[in-house]
Amino acid sequence: MLSVSKINFERYFEPVFEPVSFELKAGQLLLVTGTNGCGKTTLIRVLADILHPTSGDFVERTDSMGYVGHYLGIKDDLSVIENLRFMRDFLGTSNRSCEEVIRQVGLGRVSEQLARTLSAGQRKRCALARLLLSNTSLWLLDEPYSNLDQEGVDLVDEMLTDHLEAGGACVLATHGNHRPEWADAQDYRLISGAAA
């Protein structure tokens, strides 16, 4: 589903991280860990095709990718349900109803509220709801547990389990202590380019 060989990304002619190689198949989870500033977010953005690697190759990469990053892509002036309806219509890939997904992520009570009135955790849940609607096979999650309460952390783990059981794959970048329970998980310790 995703296979990369010695990919690297340079910013101002300095490598952000050491060259990265790995192979990820259906049903597998890759946990990218590392210290602050080691380039986890940059790596995820390179994998998502938002940034182009300076060197290295994508041996294989599915086009069906869902991404939740630091910037959640939620419009403040739209309500939760309007945000999700837009994304469902825009992506055109989901048969699920927005109301069902909103209930799943625990935003039922605030579905008609403007996104600007939501807490950081609720906004993260809204972005996770969009991920569910995207119906993509490869998830790229950058710090998905940040801003979430314990219930939210459990929700992410549950979503991940369902996704991986259904034959999806996931690259998850985290610097926290929590790690999702999944038998076929690989760890990748990212090393900053500056430390090399």
Partner: protein, 231 residues
């Protein structure tokens, strides 16, 4: 549960984005109204500043209305992609699999409907205020109808290039104004020719050619500029 990747239709993506941008513009009414108010104020102040002499006003009317419309468009341009860039929506667009060209075109159309079309609709009122001869009023509206979409289309390239800069708005003006000059010259020449009873269709033809060229090329250039800004 199995994962099935279905490809969403580009048409529904286009209209979904257009609908969303129009709804957002309606929710941010102050932002939407500012360029229109700006246009009204600038054109209204001219007769007060230079005197209400009908002949002088009629002579400068095409230039004044067009320059005010051009400035009003530039004021509204910065918002074309900025909020999508800043809140991460643009990244989601890149991942959606839909071409950025289509996304750019939908946003440009929404921008014109919100910022350009009101200028066209207001122009007869402004033309009367500026004492423009009634026979050239239709040509004035027509030049704005053909010209304002070109302003949005060309402007989108500048916005795409400057969106990642903190004070991109200032650079944006420098980038797009030289490209707007031919449109300004052709449009005002058409209205003046109509006022003088001279043939003006050639000028309108040039504007149509400019519009076709911009519609064909600008969304691609804006998409490429956005890609560069994102990386």
């Amino acid at each position: 549960m199995t994962i099935e990747q279905q490809s969403g239709s580009m048409g529904s993506a286009f209209f979904a984005l257009l609908r969303r941008d129009l709804l957002l513009a309606f929710r941010r009414r102050t932002e939407m109204l500012f360029p229109i108010v700006f246009l009204l104020v600038v054109v209204s102040l001219f007769p007060l500043g230079i005197g209400p002499g009908p002949q002088l006003l009629a002579r400068i009317a095409p230039g004044v209305i067009w320059i005010a419309a051009l400035l009003a468009t530039v004021i509204s341009l910065d918002g074309l992609f900025r909020s999508d860039y800043e809140d991460g929506t643009l990244e989601q667009f890149v991942l959606s699999g839909h071409p950025l060209t289509l996304i750019s075109l939908a946003k440009i159309v929404a921008h014109w409907l919100v910022a350009g079309l009101p200028l066209v609709l207001l122009s007869p009122l402004l033309a009367i205020w500026m004492n423009l001869p009634i026979e050239s009023l239709g040509v004035m509206v027509l030049t704005l109808l053909l010209g304002t979409p070109i302003l949005s289309l060309i402007g989108s390239i500048g916005v795409g290039l400057t969106i990642s800069l903190k004070r991109g708005g200032q650079l944006l003006s420098l980038l797009v104004f030289p490209l707007y000059v031919p449109i300004l010259i052709i449009a005002t020449a058409a209205v003046m020719a109509a006022s003088d009873g001279l043939p003006y269709t050639a000028f309108l033809g040039l504007l149509v050619a400019g519009l076709i060229t911009s519609v064909t090329l600008a969304p691609f250039a804006a998409a490429a500029a956005l890609k560069i800004s994102l990386s």
